[in-house]
């Protein structure tokens, strides 16, 4: 069994707040268009000033968020860089594709082609930090970020010395992406304000979002925000299979569902995907607080990065912001957080985080 590893810093860019904002979900933004674009920080200061001029939004998001996580941990050069993204730079992909179609395959420039490569942000992070170590990019839809975390845990388990891994995720939405996916019923109609999303969980569809989250992980417990105990991912699992996986995962760590103080759930307002969360809520007793997060960030492949950032902030603050809470539990402190997420394309993930106090 893999040993726990430690999260030593966390950084986020989200529709609610970014790494330069102070506070923790202090101002919740109401967005009515069903497209939760991120609040963009000032990227300068985190990115090579010459290179930044040609960079598309996702590159700026990913690189600045990664650099910010390193800064917070006081690390100049990580030992490894591991990321997850469902779709990479949609802006660059669409741009090169449309140019190619419109220009009839003539006179194309390479910038958007290069930036559409899924590991381009990894390359930039390595370049900026002079990190010549392990470098990996996962592109497995709704479990891309979880795979990055999993690989980080495995790499730290393999390490014989102190090691620091930068792990994170990034995904973006575009107007064309929204339009394309509307044709197969991804989005809720009519569109509710994001803060009302979960009140509409009796109808199909969700709202779209985007974001980036980066973390430094280490095998050293001192000054950690929390520990990462276990990760499980599942594809095409029935709700019953997801439920059946949770208890064994907790048992392996000497825990039961009743020991979970916060159950952070990835419900996205889509009635077709509520079953797991309904069963989970019924299984949890009064001890556990049940909370949700996708009404704040929208649905996207790597939204669990945003949720993991929320968890680290909750461990820091020792309390759960009201905007997340669906059902308040009787637990005293916050020792164990279980993140259960799903993505539209039928994947599920379970992440167990623990306080180091």
């Amino acid at each position: 069994m893999m040993q726990p590893v430690y999260i030593s810093s966390a950084s986020v860019i989200s529709p609610q707040q970014h790494f330069e904002d102070v506070g923790f979900l202090a101002d919740v933004h109401d967005i009515a268009e069903g497209m939760l674009y991120v609040r963009e920080p000032n990227y300068r200061g985190y990115i090579n000033p010459v290179a930044i001029r040609r960079m598309s939004k996702l590159l700026k998001m990913g690189i600045s968020c990664g650099m910010s996580a390193l800064q917070r941990a006081g690390i100049e050069k990580p030992d490894a860089i591991i990321t997850g993204t469902g779709r990479g730079s949609m802006v660059d992909t669409e741009q090169f594709l449309l140019n190619m179609i419109e220009m009839d395959e003539e006179a194309l420039t390479p910038t958007s082609f290069i930036q559409s490569t899924y590991n381009s942000i990894n390359g930039w992070l390595a370049l900026q930090t002079k990190c010549t170590g392990y470098n990996q990019t996962y592109v497995n839809r709704g479990t891309s970020f979880e795979l990055a975390l999993f690989d980080a845990q495995m790499l730290l388990n393999e390490a014989e010395q102190e090691m620091h891994v930068l792990a994170g995720c990034f995904d973006e939405i575009t107007p064309d992406y929204i339009k394309v996916k509307s044709k197969i019923g991804y989005w809720k109609q009519p569109i509710p304000a994001n803060t009302d999303l979960l009140k509409h969980s009796n109808t199909p569809g969700t709202i779209a979002g985007e974001g980036s989250a980066f973390f430094t992980l280490t095998n050293k417990k001192e000054n950690a925000l929390c520990s990462l105990q276990a990760i499980a991912t599942m594809q095409d699992a029935e709700p019953a299979e997801v439920m059946a996986a949770i208890n064994p995962l907790l048992n392996k760590h000497g825990l039961a569902l009743d020991d979970i103080d916060l159950l952070l759930c990835g419900m996205n307002g889509d009635s077709r995907q509520m079953e797991v969360y309904n069963q989970l809520s019924q299984s949890a007793n009064g001890h556990t607080t049940i909370a949700a997060f996708k009404h704040l960030c929208g649905e996207y492949d790597t939204s669990s990065g945003f949720a993991t950032w929320i968890a680290t902030e909750i461990f820091k603050a020792g309390e759960i912001p009201d905007t997340l809470v669906i059902k308040k539990g009787s637990h005293k402190g916050i020792q164990n957080i279980l993140l259960v997420n799903h993505y539209i394309l039928n994947s599920h993930s379970i992440v167990l985080l623990q306080s180091v106090q």
Binding site: R87, N119, G123, A126, T132, R141, D151, E158, D176, I184
Partner: protein, 402 residues
């Protein structure tokens, strides 16, 4: 490494054909798979040669017992399924009835080969039409999930995209998961289909050769694109022996590093490539003199070959180790390349032959060593295979005689 990881089954499709026999036959007969593309609908078809798989989409679908026409399967996925079909037919599928195994796939542009022909429909006001079947196929995980679904598997799934080193990274992840006790076995590999997107993308970088590519030649101009898929079954040596499996080769070492030099170009003296190869040797517990053949990345781009060539020259200076690039046979198959060339490396060990570097005539000025140009009979115990990609992503793998 702790316990040795071995390879016990494989599957492959490329411009050289389908399956082990067609591939080794082509390698031995020096028959390249390059041609002007017939299936790729590009206006540049008459201009560039590519390593295109012979089968049309309908022919691939027929091999798989799938409906022809707009069946919702992209060429990327069809190639992956056909390669996997060979692996599965050579394996006791009872091994995959529980979920104690991983499927690690690699891919660079997902279903772009289909999406690029339908994208105007995607973004039009149309809400009906065959394009709807392909609307969720652009991302890289699409082929991975279709493999699991087609073969009714419930594995731990992962998809990797690190440009041209993608499927070499699949093998590393699979081996590490087995070593860490996360799974007992792993099916690892990658797939990519030719697309106008990648052809025009690389052409916009002005590094695509119109004629057959000439790796390590002073007059090289650039790469040829190819397509294909390859998968390998990895497990512990003791597990393979216990079930009486044929052990094809040992996966004895690997290394993943980053150049941290430039977004698309390698460090010109080959520092990154050199370090990657050294770390793979270290992981395998081997010296450079133990390597009998190097299957180079050798894309025939100006930058890659001089950097990789210098790195090979620096590391293997004491012994003239046989090396070659097999890209002139298959074209550069991007995410599939690492896995395809892993197979070429394994066959080099099995057949005791170093594969020729086709189209080589004139050495690069800065290099004093030249690649093997004929099928060379050699005593081969250890093969090193390189895959280097955009974003400075470098991988070296080492395969050894079972």
């Amino acid at each position: 490494m702790a316990e040795r990881i071995v390879i016990t089954a494989t599957g492959i499709i490329s411009a050289l054909g389908r399956g082990t026999e067609q591939h080794t036959g082509a390698l031995i007969n020096k028959t390249a798979g390059m041609r002007h593309p017939l299936h790729l609908r590009t206006k540049h078809a008459g201009e560039f040669v590519c390593g295109e798989v012979d089968y049309s989409n309908d022919q691939l679908a027929a091999l798989l017992g799938l409906p022809t026409g707009d069946n919702g399967y992209t060429r990327t996925t069809l190639l992956a399924l056909v390669a996997m079909q060979e692996l599965m037919s050579n394996t006791d599928t009872g091994l995959f009835t529980d979920n104690n195994f991983a499927l690690v796939n690699a891919n660079t542009v997902g279903g772009m080969c289909s999406v690029e022909d339908m994208y105007l429909d995607f973004i039009s006001e149309k809400t009906e039409g065959p394009f709807l079947k392909y609307i969720d196929t652009l991302d890289c995980a699409e082929s991975t999930l279709n493999i699991a679904r087609y073969f009714q598997l419930k594995p731990f799934t992962a998809t990797i995209s690190t440009a041209c080193s993608s499927s070499a990274n699949s093998l590393i992840l699979g081996a590490r998961m087995i070593q860490n006790g996360v799974v007992q076995r792993a099916i690892c590999g990658g797939c990519d289909a030719l697309s106008r997107f990648t052809l025009n993308g690389f052409n916009s970088l002005k590094n695509v050769d119109k004629e057959s590519c000439r790796p390590f030649d002073a007059n090289r101009f650039g790469l040829n694109l190819g397509e294909g898929a390859a998968y390998l079954l990895l497990e512990k040596e003791s597990d393979a022996i216990a079930r009486g499996a044929d052990i094809l080769a040992v996966f004895s070492g690997y290394s993943n590093t980053n150049d941290a030099y430039h977004p698309t170009a390698p460090s010109p003296e080959g520092d990154g490539a050199l370090r990657t190869m050294q770390l793979a040797l270290q992981k395998a517990g081997l010296n450079e003199s133990d390597i009998d053949y190097i299957n180079a990345h050798g894309t025939a781009t100006l930058n890659n070959d001089v950097a990789e060539g210098k790195a090979i020259q620096r590391l293997f200076s004491s012994k003239e180790t046989a090396f070659s690039s097999t890209k002139p046979y298959t074209g550069h198959t991007l995410a599939a390349a690492g896995a395809i060339e892993a197979l070429f490396s394994i066959w080099a060990i099995q057949q005791q032959k170093a594969w020729p570097n086709l189209n080589f005539h004139t050495p690069i000025e800065e290099m004093s060593i030249s690649p093997v140009t004929e099928v060379k009979e050699l005593d081969i115990n250890h093969v090193l295979s390189n895959s280097f990609g955009f974003g400075g992503s470098n991988v070296s793998l080492i395969f050894s005689r079972a």
